[in-house]
Symmetry: C2
Subunit: 514 residues, 2 copies
């Protein structure tokens, strides 16, 4: 057995089932090993940003890592942006990067580069093996490292001679303990804070955004009078009827500062302290004012769900206490397509138990607000601000959950970053419905120009924030990758298009022209 | 004047005329500065791999750097693969990367990452400024660093407060000396080697691939009896009638070893010693056998053209000595489309003074061989092995040379990496004709599987090397980005399609189904 086969067999024994890949010459033995060792599904993507974004989406839904296989430094580099998002999502992802043979590195052949320098900024764990015998143990440790709470990106660099060289066999999987429980005294401390009746906000992040976490939070808020909010960029949150309809902490820092100005206690449950997404003149980095005290109920590394449930008990909240969202009587909108009519229409038509992958940027706020009364669903969002996450995440989510319908609500500018994901959706016959919010501009940048007091943008500023001239034709782009679709220019047309999209399984794209 | 305006004014004063960009919030003041300071053309690309690949193609044709503007670590990371190619091409490129405000870095906001760790593997020069006053001098030094022979990638990281903060004004451009001349004694040493009459091979790279360099090489080979070859991956080489018809050093290492086995002296002229592209079992890294002596006529940092001309003089070669390629009487091919009929047809129809950007991988070898008898043209190739170079390079070349027709000969698998370049070609109305070599597979990987003795690939190996199921429809992809086109399935149809493509200016795409 060579190192490559030891790697795949070790990964399968460790519970890894899927490998997203765009291999090259240095990964050919890994490719052959996928055939030699049963139990790993290999999914090709035509660009590494799709590979890594799919692994992130898979991890968010499956709760465990997929492998990525990429080709030396440059191939891996194409996947860094979505690994940055995975890092901010605390998603377990295991990268396997092929490299030049150990004895060939010194030749500095054209594809050679410093892979470790590229990998470190996005990885919690990086190792380069030096022998075939180290490959199996290396991947076992990488898988464990990716799963240690709160989850992260682990990167194993495998020189080609370590892949083709003889290995002693697969390695034993490395066990991982679950997240640490929060101690009773910490629970009691937060309980005292909430019992004080002083204005409190519970900020929910990480595992607190699971159904169990949200239900516990609802008990706590009902009993204590505290407010609860979701972090601004949840990796995954359960939404719709049957869970509490919490809103997200505001994006713009001035709004965050204002909100926290009326709060005496900020309780962090799986969340970290809110900071400005960007720095602006005369706006602080940290948004919590001096008069607001931070109480940590659970760090992202700790068991936030258990802590919330213990806190609910400590407060004496009833088992069924708490306000959950009721199913709203939503009807598709009519008239002009706007973020509001688009959001209303999708919320009304959302099927039960869907997965909504939302990289809709400025076009999706209304959908999020309205979706609290929609059918129960999982909502996955952009976490690290590296655009191009949505379509790949949706591919990974669809592979993790073949029995759930995936809806990719996708901004056009961001969608162009990793549009190759549509081809993988077609090849794998994924039940993935993409709705492109085609406003034909980088609208957030127009907002940011105004915020920077650039109120009369010149030709360069307009050219660099505008996606028109020519308009993108998403229906043709989708067709080019084997995905059928249509364009909708009114709310009625969107409802009809979504109806056709949902009529059968498989990928479909609707370009909603805003 | 703020730091951003100082940056743009300094760059313009230093001779930089073009900026390829995909900016975000932290770059809004740079965007505004492009309007405030005249003289810099701003070109938007919808993905950073296009931004950096265009800057590389621009540099190869313009002989000077463009700016790239990208957004923090993840935005920059999307451009790393093509910067890797630029690095291997020794192309001058100046990256300006926006970052979080200096005082906001510690907050570790979602988009924050270690940009320097990402930039170092592809850059000869990296600096992060700390104040607005450092921005102008920083970019002046970056521009100079990129132009120091043999040319390279320089990266300036500009925190947003340094862009919006008050700066003293533009900085003075930093002068750069040209490449160092090779000393007379070194020329004489190589002349003695060649006069010996022992079998010699002159390997031409870098500036030796210019028209002047090639003509000097032709004089030397005619006079001395030495052979000359091009490096395997020339960044740019002049080709066609009127320059010598040299072939490229072979790609596969066994062939390189065999070739050098019959050579007593390997003379490097702007080239580095040939090494294997990848390591294989029982094949050496360095291809030069013990019996072959290496003589360095000029390193890539030195003036290879001047050295070749001096060597020709030292050998007493006549001014017009040397065999130059004659214009061949080429006719478009007929029948089935194959790499051979495709190459013959394009070589026959190639217009005068075209720029051919060739990322055709396994489909283009015959074109290269036949193009020595075609109309004179510049040929740009993949340098660093990071696929996705071709379309962006072609965009940059077209912007550098608006009066020359650009032909992008593009493999389908590689083309999918950075297909967003087609949109920039449409927006900028570039005279860029793309011919996609659609063999619907990663053919080189099928070759490499066989080389790795994987003669009966299983389903995973087939799935990971095959681009079919579904086939890509490049005509629809192009239409989706505003580029007209058509599909050709025979050599006759290809000739007709190329005729229509060449009938008017502007972008056009032909999908040649192999």
């Amino acid at each position: 057995m060579n190192g490559a086969e030891a790697l795949i067999r070790t990964a399968v024994a460790s519970g890894v089932e899927v490998c997203f890949a765009n291999p090259g010459t240095t990964e050919m033995h890994l490719v052959a090993a996928l055939d030699a060792a049963p139990g790993m599904r290999a999914v090709l993507a035509l660009f590494e940003g799709v590979v890594t974004g799919a692994a992130d989406g898979y991890a968010r839904m499956a709760g465990k890592p997929a492998l990525t296989i990429t080709h030396l430094g440059p191939g891996f580099a194409n996947g860094i942006a979505n690994l940055h998002n995975a890092r901010r999502a605390n998603s377990p992802v295991v990268n396997v990067i092929g490299d030049q043979a150990t004895w060939h590195l010194a030749a500095d052949a054209p594809l050679t580069s410093d892979i470790e320098s590229l990998a470190k900024p996005v990885s919690v764990w990086v190792r380069k093996v030096k022998t075939a015998a180290e490959v199996g143990p290396g991947v076992a440790e990488a898988i464990a490292a990716s799963q240690r709470a709160p989850g992260g990106v682990a990167t194993l660099i495998v020189p080609s001679d370590c892949a083709w060289g003889e290995a002693p066999g697969p390695a034993k999987p490395v066990g991982v303990e679950g997240p640490a429980a929060v101690r009773g005294e910490s629970i009691e401390r937060v309980a005292r804070t909430l019992r004080s009746g002083e204005p409190a906000l519970i900020l929910l992040g990480g595992t607190a955004l699971s159904r169990r976490g949200l239900l516990a939070a609802a008990r706590i808020t009902a009993k204590s009078g505290a407010r609860a909010m979701l972090i601004t960029f949840p990796a995954r949150v359960e939404r719709g009827a049957g869970v509490p309809a919490y809103t997200k902490f505001p994006y713009f820092p001035e709004q965050g500062v204002e909100l926290l100005g009326s709060v005496r206690h900020l309780v962090l449950a799986g969340a970290i302290e809110p900071v400005a997404f960007f720095g602006y003149p005369n706006v602080p980095s940290r948004l919590t004012p001096a008069g607001c005290q931070i109480s940590v109920l659970a760090t992202p590394e700790q068991d936030a769900v258990g802590a919330l449930e213990a806190l609910a008990e400590a407060l004496g909240a009833g088992r069924n206490e708490g306000e959950l969202a009721a199913r709203a009587d939503l009807a598709p909108a009519t008239g002009k397509l706007t973020p509001e009519t688009l959001g209303r229409t999708l919320a009304a038509l959302l099927p039960e138990n869907a997965i909504v992958v939302d990289e809709s940027a400025t076009s999706g706020a209304q959908f999020f607000a309205l979706s609290s009364g929609a059918a129960p669903h999982s909502h996955l969002g952009l976490t690290g601000g590296a655009i191009g996450q949505g379509l790949p995440n949706a591919v990974g989510a669809a592979i993790a959950c073949p029995d759930r319908r995936v809806i990719s609500l996708q901004a056009d500018g961001s969608g162009m970053y990793t549009l190759q994901a549509l081809w993988t959706a077609a090849r794998e016959s994924l039940d993935l419905k993409t709705i492109v919010c085609a406003n034909r501009m980088y609208r957030i940048l127009k907002v940011e120009l105004a915020r920077a007091d650039i109120t009369h943008p010149g030709p360069a500023a307009r050219a660099l924030t505008d996606l028109g001239s020519p308009n993108l034709d998403w229906v043709s782009l989708a067709r080019g990758m084997g995905v059928p679709g249509e364009r909708a220019e009114t709310a009625e047309a969107l409802a009809a298009a979504i109806g056709r999209a949902f009529a059968e399984r498989g990928p479909y794209l609707v370009e909603a022209v805003l």
